[in-house]
């Protein structure tokens, strides 16, 4: 007999060992997320993918699916909470969508649209985060970092390089690179690295490629994120 659980009333099949978000993705059901990426070990930190399992909040990227689970995801309550988290991420960093190269391809922006975020709501923190333009091919704009650690995982687990890591604590948590100078140009980072492809926002940017696709014709301009991000696509 096949294993199933219910997600917002819909029956979702799953295989033993799959997480809720994996099974939902396979079934074509979108659960908002930022630090989750199907190719990497889940991190469970952004909390956008939080759902209610049998009435209790839990991150769907780390929670294994179990037979008969009753999962709520697309509810007014949970989406309001996700919206608040998205607003928190917007005020924590410096996100100026109109001037950002990633606009239209940015998962944070697309998620904000998906959740109906109309304003940042909270007071901006306006942190001071210098950019790193030391690498010949790649620019790092830390202003947009949401600490999802996808580049950390990609560099460590796929590229075998450990170019990135999180340092600091609390609100001072920040991304560092693997060089005594702290400059990307002094690392073995390469444009072909997996870590160069996974940033969901606009931190890791290819130089001299700005606005190759006009705004209006970009990924999330064409289709909202809920229709573009499902397992394997």
């Amino acid at each position: 007999m096949s294993l199933t659980f219910t997600l917002d009333g819909k029956t979702i099949p799953f295989e033993d060992g799959q997480t809720i978000i994996q099974a939902a993705g396979k079934a074509g059901v979108f659960i908002p997320h930022l630090c989750y990426h199907p190719e990497f070990k889940p991190h469970g930190s952004c909390k956008l993918c939080t759902v209610k399992v049998n009435g209790r909040h839990t991150a769907s990227c780390t929670m294994r699916a179990m037979p008969g689970m009753v999962v709520e995801s697309d509810t007014e309550e949970i989406n309001a909470e996700r919206r608040a988290l998205t607003q928190m991420l917007f005020v924590e960093g410096n996100h100026f969508c109109p001037s950002c190269e990633k606009s239209g391809n940015c998962q944070l922006q697309a998620t904000a649209y998906h959740l109906g975020m109309m304003s940042p709501h909270y007071d901006h923190f306006f942190p001071n985060r210098p950019v790193d333009a030391s690498h010949p091919e790649v620019l790092l704009d830390f202003n947009r970092c949401i600490l999802c650690s996808l580049c950390v995982r990609a560099s460590r687990d796929v590229d075998g390089k450990n170019v990135f890591a999180l340092s600091g604590r609390g609100i001072k948590t920040h991304l560092i690179v693997n060089a005594r100078s702290g400059q990307l140009g002094d690392t073995d980072f390469a444009l072909a690295d997996k870590a160069a492809q996974v940033c969901p926002v606009g931190v890791i940017l290819r130089k001299r490629q700005g606005f190759a696709v006009p705004i209006g014709e970009r990924k999330y301009d064409k289709a909202p994120i809920a229709e573009t991000v499902t397992e394997g696509k």
Binding site: G44, A84, E92, G170, I176
Partner: protein, 632 residues
């Protein structure tokens, strides 16, 4: 020039020595970094270069760990690094004025390093000296009972560059202040007795059959007792003393039953990362009854079949390290640790002490295990739980210091004896760390069921307005609730008992606690990382007099979000002090509600304070009219 510049070769020598002592094992990263800093005053780029090559780990890993803990410095902080404890009790005892005095004495700005690189003065979270504050840490060594005279003496010693080892020992004298002792603090116990009693609880034939593994996986037969000891712990009804109150017997049994992979062993961890502001009972247990605690750990090892133990000692208690190591060495000599303990073949267990480095979050058991493994202290995703996948993925028990002390007494005197103390739902005793507005602050051990009123009477508290039980993550009680009792069925506690009399401003108490959580959030999950900062900003806004009813509802909403979305207990409880004080001491907030309509947090006059500081001007003309006022 700078005192902080050591020659690269000297740094390399220190690093090599430390790394060799820790067997080039990166899972000892936190200890390695601590010892390097103790020798070099900071963790310099040269030290990291050397670590990277000798340990063979990427620089990002070293810097990531060093950057997480408050007591690690990757920038020079002076040869003398002074950190004033900034718990609310230190505040009430005037730590701010003393810090100003020291800064003025030494010509150093708060939070900065003096121009000659000699000294820095800053603040840190509660250092666990609330009964003898105000306190500070100098180069991570505790110095309680500060006075203005003492501050002047300290300044003089620093100016004369006298090595810390030559300072008067009296400066570092920490009192135990035991005011009421019961079965633990007054234990009728000789080292080894609890183990022998446990061993003597030889099971009957039936139990023997279920106990084929005994102490260590693979041993052919029971040595008599492990299961029986576990039964006594269960019969005693012992629950964890760290605050959460999980049933100890269940935890031990789960660890005992966890499958052991080849080459793995079971681990016993004593959580002495006593970071909850207002708590200091573990410090006293370790200084006065270390044998009882170690014996409790050994009893646990005996019951579950563990062979390796750790004490995770908070960095603020670094000064206890030599004492604890001496007790461990004596126990090894007495055959109470090591191989074949008390002559029982195969009974192998030993304990190492791991010193933390200033991170409250490491009191959370999975963050503690991460830290033990030499990583950033970030709570893990659970399940799996430590009892099956703990330290280096091995089955691990993490219990509080007091839990182990109680376990030793249960092994000695039996579960029924223990269950006869306290209340039906809360057996045994609880050690309270009493501080704040009372005549006799210190350590009070009571059978569970004691009322708040009784404790207040015993410690000589008068005109009490409120008691914060179990620290900022606990509960704030007002006068009408003083007949409630300490116990899992009413008010569970990790041990903090902070008294506030009627002169205290409960809003400022809550604001101090909110600042604490903001500082200690590990930063892993979005809601806690950003939410605690937002909460801090809201409380500061109220403090500056720009509060309105709007801000109340914002606090309410943040609380709900932190409760439902946070990764661990820190985020879940970060709003507690605010919600409790709003509910019970609303006038303290209303006093600050100058505005009925929304007022922005931004205040132009306050924003100019940096300019005033830079220009040294603070006259009337340097201020805007109608400012809210207030200081950061």
């Amino acid at each position: 020039m700078a005192l902080n510049t050591m020659h690269a070769e000297a740094v390399a020598g220190v690093v090599d020595r430390v790394v060799a002592r820790y067997r080039r094992d990166p899972s000892n990263m936190v200890q390695i970094l601590r010892e390097i800093q103790e020798s070099c005053d900071w963790i310099s780029p040269e030290a990291i270069d050397r670590l990277q090559s000798t340990l063979g780990v990427p620089r990002t890993k070293i810097e990531g760990v060093a950057g997480f803990y408050s007591f690690f410095y990757t920038e020079p902080r002076g040869r003398y690094r002074v950190l004033f404890s900034d718990n609310i009790t230190d505040r009430m005892l005037g730590n701010r004025a003393l810090m100003e005095r020291l800064c003025n004495n030494l010509w150093v700005e708060r939070g900065k390093v003096s121009e000659d690189g000699l000294v820095s003065v800053g603040k840190t979270a509660c250092t666990g000296m609330c009964d003898q504050g105000p306190a500070l840490l100098i180069n991570n060594t505790a110095m309680p009972a500060l006075t203005a005279e003492r501050i002047d003496e300290i300044a003089e010693l620093i100016r004369n560059k006298l090595p810390l080892s030559e300072w008067p020992a009296a400066f570092f004298k920490v009192e135990d202040n035991i005011r009421r002792a019961d079965i633990l603090l007054n234990a009728d116990f000789k080292p080894g007795e609890a183990l022998l009693a446990g061993r003597a609880r030889a099971p009957d034939e039936g139990l023997m059959a279920s106990n084929m593994r005994s102490w260590r996986e693979g041993l052919p037969s029971g040595m008599g007792g492990p299961i029986a000891v576990l039964d006594e712990i269960k019969r005693a009804g012992l629950r964890g003393r760290g605050g959460a109150g999980f049933t100890t017997g269940m935890k031990w049994e789960a660890c005992r039953n966890a499958q052991l992979k080849a080459g793995y062993q079971r681990i016993i961890v004593c959580n002495a990362d006593e970071g909850e502001p207002g708590t200091f009972k573990d410090r006293v247990l370790l200084s006065t009854c270390a044998d009882l605690v170690f014996e409790g750990m050994t009893v646990a090892a005996y019951a579950v079949g563990a062979t390796k133990g750790f004490v995770y000692l908070r960095g603020e208690y670094r000064y206890l390290l030599d004492h604890l190591n001496a007790v461990l060495a004596r126990r090894r000599r007495e055959k109470l640790l090591g191989e074949n303990i008390l002559g029982i073949p195969g009974a192998d267990f030993d304990i190492d002490i791991h010193v933390g480095a200033g991170a409250y979050i490491c009191g959370e058991e999975s963050a503690l295990i991460e830290s033990l493994e030499g990583k950033r202290g970030t709570p893990r995703n659970r399940p799996p739980f430590p009892v099956t996948n703990g330290y280096l993925d091995q089955p691990t028990i993490v219990n509080n210091v007091e839990t182990f002390a109680a376990a030793a007494m249960i092994a000695l005197k039996g579960g029924d004896w223990y269950a006869g103390i306290g209340t039906r739902h809360s057996t045994g005793t609880k050690i309270l760390s009493v501080s704040g507005d009372c005549e006799r602050p210190g350590i009070y051990e009571y059978p569970f069921g004691v009322s708040i009123r009784q404790v207040l009477a015993d410690c000589g508290a008068r005109d009490t307005q409120a008691v914060q039980v179990s620290g900022p993550s606990g509960i704030c009680l007002a006068e009408a609730e003083f007949d409630r009792i300490i116990g899992f069925e009413d008010i569970p506690t990790s041990g903090a008992f902070t008294v506030f009399d009627k002169t205290r401003d409960m809003f400022e108490v809550a604001r101090n606690y909110v600042h604490f959580f903001q500082h200690e959030s590990c930063g892993f999950c979005t809601p806690c990382r950003v939410g605690t900062s937002l909460l801090k900003n809201l409380m500061d806004k109220l403090h500056y007099g720009a509060g309105s009813p709007y801000d109340f509802s914002e606090i309410e909403k943040l609380n709900q979000l932190l409760q439902s979305m946070s990764h661990c207990g820190l985020g879940h409880t970060a709003c507690n002090p605010v919600l409790d004080t709003i509910a019970k001491f609303r006038p303290a907030y209303e006093k600050r509600m100058n505005q009925q309509d929304f007022t922005p947090a931004f205040d132009l006059d306050r924003a100019l304070s940096a300019a005033r500081q830079m220009t040294g001007r603070d006259d009337a003309a340097a201020h805007l009219a109608n400012a809210h006022g207030g200081e950061a």
